[in-house]
Point group: C2
Chain length 112, copies 2
DNA sequence: TGTTTATATCGCAAATATACGATGGTTTGT
DNA sequence: ACAAACCATCGTATATTTGCGATATAAACA
């Protein structure tokens, strides 16, 4: 794109879009699911679960981290990732709220 | 990417990711909000509301349509877009369900 | 110390997404 | 029939995403 126009939108729309973007790849959805399932927030196991190379998984993890949805810290040789529940839940609620606010406006009869 | 690996993931993860991708741009979030607000699902008005050129808006509308989140039909000179409530709500529920299933696994104490 | 192991990061290639001007097709209104 | 209005689509430029091999880093271990 010639210019990035994201700044021209409402803050809340941008925030919602960023959350959605973090979830916009099946690998990242799968990573979140895996992190939640394996109570122990192990790391490299994710690579085994996904059909992707280690470098690629590492990149997706980085994106989830940048989005604030997970945290990661190095533990010796391995590094441990966890869902950042506080932020994750807050964004989830924001999205649910968005859905609810639209639903509230839903007309009785569809116009088209 | 050399190859598109999306087919290598679970169907449900792909579906969720596709929904999220449709919401992953503030313009598309704003379009959905606008469509819900203006009960009359007018069209070109969207262009006036957004800080984007008509061609760009048309493209975003097309993407939302491809994702099944809105419907659109030509009405004389203008074309009328509406939220495809059935599919939209179904995807919203799917996402909420995803969130709920993760939350259910949330440990009492964070490990990292 | 040298080796293995677990990860992150770099650099590259290919695919997609974003944005817009220009253009073309339709439908009204004159 | 002509002009104006509305919108979709094409073509194009640029930016971002996706994916991976190769390499770097750092801890654990022989």
């Amino acid at each position: 794109m010639a210019v990035n126009k994201k700044h021209a939108f409402a803050e809340s729309d941008v925030a919602l879009a960023e959350f959605a973007k973090a979830l916009s790849h099946p690998a990242r959805v799968a990573i979140l699911r895996t992190l939640a399932e394996k109570k122990v927030c192990i790391c490299g196991e994710i690579v085994e679960v996904l059909p992707l190379a280690q470098a690629t998984v590492s990149q997706h993890l980085k994106e989830l981290k940048n989005a604030g949805l997970i945290t990661g810290e190095i533990e010796g040789v391995r590094s441990c990732y966890c869902i950042h529940w506080e932020h994750f839940e807050s964004m989830l609620e924001r999205l649910e709220q968005f859905g609810a606010s639209l639903r509230a406006l839903k007309p009785n009869s569809d116009c088209c």
